[in-house]
Structure formats: structure tokens, C-alpha cells
Symmetry: C2
Subunit: 241 residues, 2 copies
């Protein structure tokens, strides 16, 4: 399984993904699920993937190939983030066209979901959720975040805390708390994490950090959040009925 | 959908269920999912149900019939909570035997999960999770709670706070917070709630409360927990990287 979360803020974007893949509990591996497409000063696009790893790797490979071969349509040539999301969707459809029948023969679902976000010069930062069918939705004023994969454990804290006006630092902290809650409750989500922060109008990756079990800040979050939650719990009065 | 949670404590048991059922978002109803079988001074057993409502109602009906007809085996005649869980499982299997083929013809899954807990004179309080196949597991020292239905949103707070030595009041507060997180993140779980508390060795329902949107304590939890979470969030330092 996988857990990825991205938030779209007035001041930029924050992306966080885990790195665990599993085909059964006895076949657990580490694969990065975050891919940055960056041409400094012109655009920065970040793609996070969930679902069947062969499918998502095929899509990412194809997106890189389009750039390497300087195709007329690539993530480096499209004029808007909307077009970029459409290109990711089309690439996914092409992989579906090629692989879905064979997967079905083997009883395997064609299963993929992507988050694509970033900024292309001339536009504001944007964030998209691309579905397995290649269609996609965009984050709006009311919905500042998207999640893919094992999203439920880590959703309540996002719902309570994140707004478009949250800072990048706050959104990073919240994403790490959301990830920690997920990791604690679900074995199929695991370290190391990939974190990317993109500041509005910087048109480059501001920060790309690999967070391992030794990361000091994440260790503080892991112990500190549990303590804070327990403290918050004990300060609320018990029922008297 | 449904969310039910029960905790087994050194001092007793706490059960909490929502009451929303839905067959599509345009067919939402209120049905109680909590059923108490009580013979004061001898036994108290509480059953919470999730899954297909026709299936769970059929099982509950049959369990009541066994008591009404003074059958040799009923929830009032079994000698242990383990036997009670086995009887619930068998009843579920009988319903499966009768209904599963017809449901399948209509493309509907046979889908049910129950939590059964309580105390029978001569035993300690016990708690069971009964699966659709009629098999079941029992809560042990290490696992003080069971959930059925839409369980993921409300799991992190249980994992952080509840132990066997928590008090009934604390477990009630935690169950309500867990329910609140679930209701906020998932439309298919809704008020009113049913709460039952059973004190160890009382051999009766100590408290049975229907919690509506007007319930003062639950309103405090709803606003207070959000505030506490946000406060806890803001007291943790932001990342400096």
C-alpha cells in the first residue's frame, strides 16, 4: 500500500509520500513514489503515485521518455498544469490499453492513482488528482489537499488543521503528523518518506528531503504528537453521565 | 455504512454505535445497531452490527426468537460469553445459508460483522468480534478494543489512548472522540449514537444513552476536541529545514 498527501497553499505546495510497496506481507520493498519534473525558472511539477507499481513505473518512464526525446507534448512543453494533468492521464490510458487485458487474465486489478501538482510560469500553483481512468480533478479554494493510497487514518488531522492560508511549515508539520498516524495504524505504509516543498513563484523545488527513522524532526513529531494527543485527551473533561 | 467501537477494560465495557444506514447516498436512514440482551444479576450481553441491514436484522430477530421460545440454546441459556459468540456466529451462518445465493443473484455481497461483549455470571467481562463467516476472535490483554464498519478514521486516537486500565469514563470519552473524527470525515456515519456502559460484575446495563446532536457532552467533545487538536498542533514546533 501507499500513503501520499499534497496540500495547495496560498504560498506554495507541500508533497509527502511514503516508500513502502507490498505484494503480500512477505514481499515488502522500498520504492520511491515521488517524482519531480523541474526546469528551474520555468516550471516545477511533482508527481506522486499509488497503486500497481508496474503501472505507475510505466507511466513515469513514459513521461520521462517524452522529455528525453523532446516530444511535441511532454511535461516540459505543455503550457499549463491542466495540460500536464491531461498528459499524465493520457499516458496512464496508454498503459491501460497495453496492460489491462493481461493483468485481468491474471486476476490483477488495473489500479493506479496519481497526485500531480506544481507551477508553470504564468500560472498560479495548481494541484490535481488523476484517477485510474485517466480523468482528473483539481483542488479548489475549498479543498486544499489531496490524498492517495491508505488515506483514512491520516484524514482527520488534515480536516481540522489545513486551510489554504496555512504556511508551508505548518502544512509540512501536518503532513508528517498525518503520515505518522497512518504508519502507526497500518503496516503497509512505511519509511523512508519523501518530502518536497515548492514555494509559490520560485519555479523550482525549494526542499527535497528524504526522511528516515533517524530524522530528528520526524522523531520529535512521532513522540511529541502522541504526547500532545494524550495531553489534549486528558484536558477534555470526562463525561459525568 | 456504520461505525461501532467497543472497549474491554479492567473495570467493564463501553459500547458506542452510530445509526446511519445507506443504500446509496439518496437512501439514507436511521436504524439502531446496538442490541442489549440483559437478565439483571445473571448476564448482560451487548451486540453491535454492521454490514447488510437485512442480514443483521435477521440475525438479531433470530436471537430474540430463541429467547422468546425458550430454546435450549439462546443468549439467555448459554453458560459463557464464548458460547454466546458461537451462537451469534451460528445464527449468522444460518442466515447466510438461507440468503446468500439470492443476494448473489442480485449482485449483492453477503456482508456482516458483529461485536458481542458483556459478562455472564461466573466469568470476567469478555469481548468478541464475529466475522461474516461466523468465526470470531476474542479481545485479549494486548487488544482492548474492537471496531466494525468505517473504522480507519477513528483508529489513531484509540491506538494512542486506550489501555485495559483506562476508566469507563475515559473509554467513553475516547469512543466519542473516535466517533466524532469518523463522522466528520465520512458522510455515511451519523447521529444519533447509542452508548452503553457495563460495569464489571454489575451484570446489567449501567448506562444506555441515546446521543443526539443536542447532547451537551457530545457537543462539548465536538468543539472541544477540534480546539484541543489545533492547540496541540500549534504547540508542536514547525520544521526548520
Amino acid at each position: 500500500m501507499t500513503y501520499c498527501v499534497a496540500t495547495l497553499l496560498d504560498t506554495g505546495l507541500v508533497f509527502l509520500s511514503d516508500s513502502r510497496t507490498n505484494a503480500g506481507v512477505d514481499h515488502v520493498n522500498t520504492f520511491r513514489k515521488m517524482h519531480a519534473f523541474e526546469r528551474s525558472g520555468d516550471r516545477v511539477l511533482v508527481l506522486m503515485t499509488s497503486g500497481n507499481l508496474a503501472v505507475s513505473q510505466a507511466v513515469v518512464h513514459e513521461l520521462h521518455e517524452c522529455i528525453a526525446q523532446a516530444n511535441a507534448r511532454s511535461l516540459f512543453s505543455v503550457k499549463s498544469a491542466f495540460e500536464a494533468a491531461a498528459l499524465v492521464g493520457e499516458t496512464l490510458r496508454a498503459v491501460h490499453h497495453r496492460d489491462a487485458a493481461s493483468l485481468k487474465e491474471h486476476g490483477i486489478d488495473f489500479n493506479a492513482a496519481f497526485i500531480l501538482g506544481g507551477q508553470i510560469r504564468g500560472e498560479a500553483p495548481r494541484l490535481f488528482h488523476v484517477y485510474a481512468a485517466g480523468n482528473f480533478i483539481e483542488a479548489t479554494e475549498d479543498t486544499p489537499y489531496f490524498q492517495i493510497g491508505e488515506s483514512k487514518y491520516g484524514k482527520p488531522i488534515l480536516d481540522r488543521v489545513i486551510t489554504r492560508s496555512s504556511s508551508i511549515a505548518e502544512a509540512t508539520k501536518c503532513a508528517l503528523i498525518s503520515m505518522d498516524s497512518t504508519i502507526r495504524s497500518n503496516l503497509s505504509v512505511g519509511l523512508p518518506l519523501d518530502l518536497i516543498c515548492v514555494r509559490r513563484d520560485a519555479l523550482k523545488v525549494q526542499l527535497h528531503r528524504s526522511i528516515t527513522a533517524e530524522d530528528e524532526y520526524f522523531r520529535m513529531i512521532r513522540s511529541g504528537w502522541g504526547d500532545s494527543l494524550r495531553h489534549a485527551f486528558h484536558t477534555l473533561p470526562n463525561p459525568t453521565f
